[in-house]
Every structure is written in structure tokens, then in C-alpha cells.
Symmetry: C2
Subunit: 138 residues, 2 copies
């Protein structure tokens, strides 16, 4: 029933030091200890840690996850707040995609214009140096 931290790490694909870190910041409750002072876990912790890992994979921040866990613990309450966290996160992701796409366009253009010659003619260096080329102005 009870297994040590390495086994929990294997079952959830979360590294051992990360699990200890999550305990330290209170994302996981303090684990009961064996006689030899090792942390002991059960299936509840596997579930909780999987929840955390999945949310992290999706890019949620630790504080978001803290809130999501608190809400998941109150199944009778409205999921309006859950929805709002997820929607905020989606908006943030969309912002990041848009900004990265703009960067990609600019970089691609810079690279295409580079004649692969000497640095003194390099369009990449030039584009970076030239104040007037900054992203804000596109």
C-alpha cells in the first residue's frame, strides 16, 4: 500500500527532488514517514501529483494549480472560477503564440536577407543594430 518517493516518482514521471520541492512549498501535504524517516505515499498522492504534473505540462503556474486543487476539493461549489483560470490561461497562451509568430516573421526575414558573406554586410547584424527596425514599429 505505502511506497517510497522513488516509486511515486516512477508512477508519475515527476522527479524525486521536484516531489520534495512540491512538499516544501505546500503543493503536496507533508508525507508520513517510515521508521527510517523515509516518506511514504499511497494512491491518493499519485492522483494528486498526476493532476499537478498535467496542469504543469499545460503551462499552468504553481499558484494556479494551488487554486485548482483547492477548488477540486470542494466539489459542490460552482466551477465558474475553474473556468476563469483556464480561460485566462488560454488568453495568455494566445498572446504568447501571437508574439512568437511575429518574432518568427522578423527573424525569417532577417535570415533570408543575409547574403552569407562577411559580417560587415550581414543583414542580421544590421537589423539588430538598426534602431528603426524594432518590432514595436511594425
Amino acid at each position: 500500500m505505502a511506497f517510497p518517493i522513488g516509486e511515486l516518482a516512477r508512477q508519475t514521471a515527476v522527479k524525486v527532488p521536484t516531489i520534495r520541492y512540491y512538499e516544501q512549498i505546500g503543493l503536496l501535504p507533508e508525507a508520513p514517514r517510515s521508521e527510517g524517516n523515509r516518506r511514504l505515499y499511497g494512491s491518493t498522492e499519485v492522483e494528486r501529483l498526476n493532476f499537478i504534473r498535467h496542469a504543469r505540462d499545460l503551462g499552468f503556474e504553481i499558484e494556479d494549480i494551488r487554486e485548482l486543487l483547492a477548488m477540486a476539493a470542494q466539489p459542490q461549489s460552482s466551477c465558474h472560477q475553474v473556468d476563469s483560470i483556464a480561460n485566462n490561461h488560454l488568453a495568455e497562451i494566445e498572446r504568447r503564440i501571437a508574439s512568437l509568430t511575429a518574432l518568427k516573421r522578423e527573424l525569417t526575414r532577417m535570415i533570408e536577407e543575409c547574403g552569407h558573406g562577411r559580417v560587415c554586410d550581414c543583414r542580421i547584424i544590421e537589423a539588430l543594430a538598426d534602431h528603426s527596425q524594432c518590432l514595436a514599429e511594425h
Copy 2:
């Protein structure tokens, strides 16, 4: 001709503590000082800092910028390395866009399935909790 750090900050839109930080890590050379120990700058520093800021805006890491600056200082050498840094960076950006797009898809699906009712029926919480829904399996 020579102006203080605040003026450099204004001209380049880089914050004062950031400029001092760049000097500390050697991205900017140590500035000469006035009698009252204030850093003094000229147009050379404006150009260098604009280059740095633009590269940072484009998402280049400090170490990349260090290399780009070193190359820009040798205008007779080949720009092959410049091209390679830019291309690596472009590939990294494309990876990030792809990964964010996958997250967006997953999040959108989760949000759409959420019936906006109680937490006990919330598809978002469920999707996060459910081990089998993890991204790796898509």
C-alpha cells in the same frame, strides 16, 4: 556629449537597473565615471544597448547576444556563425509555437466541454485529474 545612466535609459527604453546589470555581467563595458562617481555614456553605448535590447526583444538569450556582439566587432570575418545562431533561434521559436499550439488545442477542448456547472461535474478538473488525458498520448 557624455550623459548619465538615466538619459541612456530614456534613449534606449532599457531600465536603469537593467543597464547596471548588463555592465555587471560584462555585456556592456564598464562606464567611465564623473567626479561624483556617476556613470557617463555616449552614442556608442546607445547603439550597443539598442542592439542588445532589440536582440532581447527577439528572444535571443544573453549568451547569444554576447556572441553576436563579438562577431559584430569583427566585420571582416564570415557571417556564417551569425546565421547559425539566428537559425537555431528560429528553430527554437518554431518548437515553442508548435508546443503552445498543442496546449491551446487541449485547453480549448477542456473549456468547451466544461458545462459551467458544479466542480464535481467540471470537465476541466476531470481532464487535469485524468492520467489518461495527458498530452504525451496525443
